[in-house]
């Protein structure tokens, strides 16, 4: 699944600012922020303790920066995503940065964001739901956390970040109404054709299954057993 058209948010504009920060500096802020979170909000980790691979790829569609988050209490990770993370992460959340931030702080309702199609989920939906619930169970002040974590940066980087935040604040208001104007609903005929093809495909498979079922049970069993038994003999 891909999101072809990034949502139009102020982050499209401040993204280059953030990218000007050196990568390791970003990772340092992220690691510090996660460490802080584990200390202040251990319940988040507690709520995910039943998960074997609580790792999520966070993909803001308005920034060229994917994040990798693993909430394993023993070895938590938050950093810029590596290419390999795409296959390793159990789930992926895609959406505009403001929506992701609101979700993280519990200021907007996750279900409402789903219903309005703002966020998309790939992979293990239940893990994303668990993560959302776990985060929502805490009162997280992201702004304060970032400001305190920015302390680990050098003064130049800190200035960049402050600039980015200021830019965001100014742009946020102006752009909200522009975004609506740009959202189009073309391509629906194409989609209709694709879906009817898939439909036909599915119908074919259903019919094939039906034919298989109509065969005597003994024959069905033989057919089912064949590949397995030849494998065992070799």
């Amino acid at each position: 699944m891909s999101v072809q058209r990034p949502a139009f948010t102020p982050f499209l504009v401040i993204s280059p600012l953030l990218r000007a920060l050196p990568g390791p500096a970003i990772d340092a802020v992220l690691a510090h922020a996660l460490h802080q979170m584990q200390q202040r909000h251990p319940a988040v980790f507690d709520r995910l303790s039943g998960e074997t691979n609580p790792s999520v790829l966070i993909s803001p569609t308005d920034m060229q920066l994917d994040l990798y988050l693993n909430l394993d209490a023993a070895r938590p990770v938050l950093r810029r995503a590596h290419p390999a993370d795409v296959t390793q992460a159990a789930a992926r959340i895609l959406g505009p940065m403001p929506a992701l931030l609101e979700l993280l702080e519990g200021k907007s309702d996750g279900d409402a964001l789903f219903f309005s199609r703002t966020l998309k989920i790939e992979g293990r939906t239940d893990l994303v739901v668990a993560l959302r619930n776990a985060l929502d169970g805490e009162d997280i002040d992201l702004r304060a956390a970032i400001i305190s974590s920015a302390g680990v940066l050098g003064p130049v980087a800190r200035r960049m970040l402050a600039l980015a935040e200021k830019a965001y604040g100014a742009l946020d208001r102006d752009m909200a109404h522009v975004a609506g104007a740009l959202a189009g609903d073309q391509d629906r005929r194409m989609a209709g054709m694709a879906s009817s093809l898939a439909d036909l495909d599915q119908r074919m498979r259903t019919v094939e299954q039906g034919i298989k079922r109509r065969q005597p049970a003994a024959l069905r069993r033989e057919q089912a057993a064949m590949p397995a038994s030849s494998g065992l003999q070799s």
Partner: protein, 316 residues
């Protein structure tokens, strides 16, 4: 394992007709049940929609008498969803007859009927939630002589409940579409743009329920008025030996528009160990055409699945 379960001959039951068949079709069906079917118990009564009752209630005394002449025990099944004063009144009327009709047992399919029948011998139907020993004990103490277990129970639960059954007979449906849900809203009517109050009895157009497919064209559910059923047909013939061993003594077939006399004969032969489950399935496809079979619930899997793997819980 208990010895007494083997000494009793397992009973075969024809459950209530879930669909809105024409009165004449139902009369013919019950006549065949009375005269031809190798069946111990036959259910009568409307369990889905009270609006259907006037079409057949007047025939019930004759049907019950005929079934009795054919040597069948008769069970009157009550409505699964009882709403409003009129339906509550009907349940009171039926349950009040509990002691007046020899050879007739009343099956409660909701808690109003179950409560009203307390203190009288009665049956608890599978629409009443019995998931554990405590609930089974409650009904046993208040006069239930037979309980039908919910369709979604896995084998482990069936075994535990059988172990605590005492003198209560345990019944499981082994054939037919599975009732999955009941609603105040009529989906047969809604599918045709009608309202329940002016439904024109369109549920009668589909003698085994209206097929419901997914948007990808996959067969999924079947709608029968207020009731939603599985599209697949439950077939627990392969599990009957394990169910018998667990202590299930009563096996229910749910009526469909197929040759139910022959189907009953097939299940009887599986119970008696004369044919295998595979033999029965081959005959089912001949009798019923292209139907899906499923047994997933008992195997602890999605109910829509037909699980060909032997179940761990079957023992041995």
């Amino acid at each position: 394992m208990k010895v007494d379960t083997l000494s009793e001959r397992p009973k075969l039951v024809m459950g209530p007709v879930l669909f809105h068949w024409d009165a004449q079709v139902k009369l013919d069906f019950y006549a065949r049940m009375a005269d031809e079917a190798d069946i111990d118990i036959v259910h009568v009564g409307e369990v889905v929609c009270s609006k259907r009752m006037p079409f057949f209630d007047k025939h019930l005394p004759d049907v019950i008498e005929r079934l009795h002449r054919g040597g069948k025990q008769v069970v009157v099944s009550t409505l699964a969803l009882v709403m409003g004063g009129r339906e509550a009144e009907m349940i009171r009327d039926v349950t009040a007859m509990a002691d007046d009709m020899p050879g007739v047992l009343i099956e409660a399919n909701d808690m109003s009927a179950a409560g009203l029948l307390a203190g009288h011998p009665h049956s608890i139907g599978p629409f009443v939630n019995i998931y554990n020993e405590g609930t089974l004990r409650h009904f046993a103490r208040r006069g239930a002589v037979r309980v039908g277990l919910p369709w979604e129970l896995p084998m482990e639960s069936v075994q535990i409940l059988c172990a605590h059954r005492g003198a209560v007979e345990i019944e499981m449906q082994v054939f037919g579409r599975v009732p999955l849900a009941i609603s105040a809203r009529c989906y047969s009517a809604r599918a045709q743009g009608l309202h329940k109050d002016g439904c024109r009895y369109v549920c009668g157009d589909h003698c085994d329920g209206m097929d419901v497919d997914t948007l990808d064209g996959e067969a999924f559910l079947a709608v029968n008025g207020l009731q939603t059923l599985s599209h697949s047909y439950l077939d627990l013939s392969g599990d009957i030996p394990a169910l018998q061993q667990a202590g299930v003594g009563v096996f229910r077939l749910s009526p469909h528009s197929f040759d139910m006399v022959t189907i009953a004969g097939l299940y009887r032969q599986v119970i008696d160990g004369k044919i295998t489950s595979e033999d029965l399935q081959d005959r089912l496809f001949d009798l019923c055409g292209d139907i899906d079979l499923a047994n997933g619930f008992l195997h602890g899997k999605p109910g829509a699945i037909f699980d060909e793997l032997p179940d761990r819980a079957r023992g041995e």
